[in-house]
């Protein structure tokens, strides 16, 4: 009996030490993933010119995304959704804390600033930071055997989900900059067509060389893989690109035809992100 209690105590102190270790690792991940954006001027401005409703939608979209990330790429063997939600919230909390601390350290958030501006500035940074926090726990952590097995089990829809996370992250990194808009204005529609073709070719090369586990894709024909992973993956990248542009208010006063160009421009980094998700996750 006493021995049992002792063992249990040791176990719980071990697991809390592990938890602290995991959380600091998450903090490091959040830093690495978020610092390019933390040091981008447009991101600070977004905090006050972005409509609060859009920011809220963005946060509401990113929470289930983090839950899904925890479930599919999972570190710690989480089998229950409840634990995945807990992990997502932890990653989110780490993301918020890291962003807030860095913005204060970089003198971007100062005393006397209206609180809603502070909240906006932190919230917009928190999403990439929390993706980083979530990934750090998988990436820097040891890969267990069950981890590998989980990857093997990844099905088609999960693959597309992971692609969307990868494209969201890369698109998010460049979307707030002025250059994104400028490039769209410099390019003519013909350039846009070439960029679209180039995105698809690059994506297919990446999809093919990295290889998507879980389904014996090599057994299938070129067209099958090309359609199911490259074309559909690119479609996912375009949708993510459109969402990010809308969120950053880049589609105002534009007709449907005019949204195509910026979507394809931002779709390029989004496609790269989608195709390389396998490398990261």
């Amino acid at each position: 009996m006493p021995l049992n209690i002792l063992q249990e105590e040791r176990l719980s102190s071990d697991s809390s030490r592990q938890y602290i270790k995991d959380t600091s690792r998450a903090g490091a991940g959040a830093l690495i993933f978020a610092f390019p954006l933390l040091m981008t001027m447009e991101m600070w401005e977004l905090g006050f010119y972005m409509e609060p409703v859009r920011l809220l939608i963005f946060l509401l979209v990113s929470l289930p995304m983090l839950v899904g990330l925890s479930h599919y790429s999972g570190f710690e063997d989480t089998f229950e959704w409840r634990e995945d939600v807990l992990d997502a919230l932890t990653a989110f909390a780490v993301g918020i804390a890291t962003s807030a601390a860095m913005l204060v350290l970089l003198a971007i958030i100062r005393g006397g600033m209206p609180w809603d501006e502070m909240v906006g500035k932190v919230a917009v940074q928190a999403v990439p930071a929390s993706i980083g926090a979530m990934l750090a726990r998988t990436q820097f952590g040891k890969h267990s055997e069950s981890d590998e097995r989980r990857k093997e089990r990844v099905g088609y829809i999960r693959t597309l989900f992971l692609m969307s996370v990868g494209s969201l992250y890369l698109a998010f990194n460049v979307a707030p900059t002025e250059e994104m808009i400028l490039i769209g204005y410099k390019m003519t529609p013909s350039y846009g067509l070439v960029l679209l073709a180039f995105s698809i070719v690059t994506m297919h090369a990446l999809v093919y060389t990295i290889g998507f586990h879980g389904e014996q894709e090599r057994e299938h024909s070129f067209l099958y893989t090309f359609h199911r992973f490259t074309i559909v993956g690119y479609a996912v990248a375009l949708l993510v690109s459109l969402f990010v542009l809308w969120m950053f208010g880049r589609l105002e006063d534009k007709s449907l035809l005019q949204t195509v160009m910026p979507t394809v421009v931002l779709g390029f980094p989004a496609a790269l992100g989608a195709a390389t998700t396998r490398l990261i996750l």
Binding site: I157, P189, G192, L193, H220, I231, L257
Partner: protein, 132 residues
């Protein structure tokens, strides 16, 4: 033959739907770019300015306007000039610069005046641009 069938599984309907939607989306985007490329003649910015509204503000009067670009090229650093005249006499002039006026699109801006533009002859026009 039998071994071949065991490695290939039946594709579920939902995956087929997703795959079809994805193909449709990419085709639509490529199609609209092709359409734009076909109709694009590279004509220079053609910017018209129209008054959207006149409001009383603390510093005097605000004239909100839309700059519309009918050309096929985006204009950058577009200078918008507003003049208040009474007969031939120039009463007041205000100038602003729009970072971009996209081709086929519009950009909103505003000019401040001390006198009420509603009582005088107001003229708004674009005076120049830069290639982005």
């Amino acid at each position: 033959m039998a071994e071949d069938h065991s490695t290939k599984r039946e594709v579920p309907l939902i995956e087929k739907l997703i795959a079809a939607t994805g193909l449709l989306l990419v085709t639509a985007v490529a199609g609209s770019l092709a359409y734009q490329a076909a109709t694009h003649d590279g004509s220079p910015p053609d910017i018209e300015v129209e008054v959207a509204g006149i409001e009383t503000v603390g510093a005097g009067y605000l004239v909100r306007f839309f700059a519309r670009n009918q050309g096929h090229t985006t204009g950058a650093q577009v200078r918008i000039e507003g003049e208040l005249r009474q007969g031939e006499k120039l009463l007041e002039q205000s100038i602003t610069t729009l970072t971009y006026v996209p081709d086929g699109g519009r950009q909103e801006g505003g000019l401040f005046f001390e006198r009420d533009p509603r009582g005088h002859h107001l003229r708004l026009r674009a005076t120049g641009y830069e290639k982005p």
